[in-house]
């Protein structure tokens, strides 16, 4: 068991007046992987947004390296890299310009080439991003992970649109990240093969799928 990196206790997420999940807890140690599973609408994306600090949980606490960060997401925000459903790519900029903007690095920095190479994007370096296929766009978004080194990666369905070979590249990159002391939390529906993952199934915390929570759901609404 490694040192504790990030944990949450009793998290409840409310969106549009509906409980997305109730009483969820998780624990992440350094150099480890947490895979979020669960059916559509069970709150995987919402949980990832809460962990990135973009969204606030209705109840519960978040702890970053033994420090209470529930009300101060700034504590962990600078250590995380979040990649959501949208790739944040500007179609009129080239692949390299897109990447160098987000990494804030100089144009000629070799690290960018290395990051692109890891996802096999180097041949497309000077291609305008509007010519990329959806899988290539996804790989460009993922290569940002390597251009700006952060401790924790939060990936929301990272393998969407990727072919088998590209998923292999992603698995390799995640393994490398673990070896250098980083951690990863990702949500996925398709298998991504990584070393010794912990799995968290959100089905049991969702009132949509777990009937035991429906009463709780009503109570919450009366209370609000």
């Amino acid at each position: 068991m490694g040192k504790s990196l990030f944990s949450g206790e009793n998290l409840t997420c409310v969106r549009g007046g509906r409980n997305v999940f109730i009483g969820l807890s998780f624990h992440l140690t350094e150099s480890s992987v947490l895979i979020l599973e669960g059916p559509n609408g069970s709150g995987k994306s919402s949980l990832i947004r809460i962990l990135s600090g973009l969204l606030r949980a209705r109840t519960g606490t978040l702890t970053w390296q033994n420090e209470d960060a529930t009300n101060e997401p700034e504590i962990f925000q600078k250590h995380i890299h979040y990649i959501g459903h949208r790739n944040a790519i500007k179609p009129v900029l080239t692949v390299q310009e897109n990447l160098s903007y987000w990494s804030g690095l100089d144009q000629n920095d070799t690290d960018l080439d290395k990051a692109l190479d890891q996802f096999n994007m180097l041949p497309l370096k000077n291609t305008p991003a509007n010519l990329l296929s959806s899988g290539q766009s996804r790989r460009l978004a993922l290569s940002r992970l390597l251009a700006s080194r952060k401790k924790l990666w939060l990936l929301d369905e990272p393998s969407v649109g990727l072919d088998v070979a590209s998923v292999k590249l992603l698995e390799h990159v995640i393994d490398q990240h673990l070896l250098t002391g980083g951690s990863v939390i990702f949500a996925t529906h398709s298998p991504i093969d990584v070393k010794a993952p912990t799995r968290l199934n959100l089905r049991e915390y969702s009132p949509l799928y777990n009937n035991a929570l429906i009463n709780l759901d009503d109570e919450e609404e009366c209370w609000v």
């Binding site: 990135s52 600090g53 969204l55 790739n87 500007k90 009129v92 900029l93 903007y101 987000w102």
Partner: protein, 228 residues
């Protein structure tokens, strides 16, 4: 500081690559202002008298056209989330985006304004004051407009909401912007032009300072809300 320049240069580069965005506001400005002589008839005295009002109102409307551009594209493609997460200070990032917007909208308007002023038979002293007033006034238009841009992000058809939110807030800039030029045109002695326009210009400066202070704070709060 690095992040600030990074955002400004990226937005400028995007604007230069998508030139239709860049030219739309300024062409709208020139074309609408040119309609007035046709509608009112070629009477030099009348045109010179109403020129300040027409130039300012058409400038406001042209800025309005481009306000949605500041944040909407970034919101839709996910860049805004990344900006919120990766920037040390969201307030600075908003100021950077507003500066880029002013450089691609306000500055072209200022450069086109003398052309329209000549068309309306304004004299050179009034044109000088017009340019100073626009230099002080158009940044406030971008700043105030940016707040509306952030507030309407989540809303459906937010582009329609922006004018309703923004136009009332543009009234002070319009009043003092026109007032400065009127004061300059009505001064009897040649030396008194600046002195007469001065109070109006100072008030335009005050509006600029207040919006410089409010926009980053209000914009950052609205952005966080929009991304929830």
């Amino acid at each position: 500081m690095n992040g600030f320049l990074n955002i400004v240069s990226k937005d400028l580069r995007l604007a230069l690559r998508q030139r239709s965005d860049l030219t739309m506001a300024v062409l709208f400005f020139i074309l609408t202002a040119m309609l007035f002589p046709f509608g009112l008839g070629p009477e030099p005295n009348l045109l010179a008298r109403i020129a300040p009002g027409i130039i300012w109102v058409t400038a406001l409307l042209s800025v309005l056209l481009s306000l949605e551009r500041i944040f909407l594209a970034d919101y839709e493609d996910g860049s805004l989330e990344q900006l919120v997460l990766s920037c040390a200070s969201l307030e600075i990032a908003i100021l950077a985006k507003v500066l880029a917007h002013w450089l691609t909208t306000g500055l072209p308007l200022i450069m086109a304004a003398p052309l329209i002023a000549l068309l309306f038979n304004m004299d050179t002293e009034a044109i000088t004051i017009l340019l100073i007033a626009m230099l002080l006034g158009t940044p406030s238009l971008s700043l105030i407009g940016a707040i509306a841009g952030t507030l309407t992000l989540g809303a459906r058809r937010g582009g329609v909401l922006i004018p309703l939110l923004v136009l009332p807030l543009y009234i002070p800039t319009l009043i003092f912007g026109v007032g400065a030029i009127d004061a300059a045109m009505n001064s009897l002695e040649a030396g008194a032009v600046i002195a007469n326009a001065r109070p109006h210009l100072l008030l335009l400066g005050a509006i600029l300072l207040v919006s410089l202070l409010i926009t980053p704070l209000a914009g950052a709060a609205a952005l966080k809300q929009a991304l929830e």
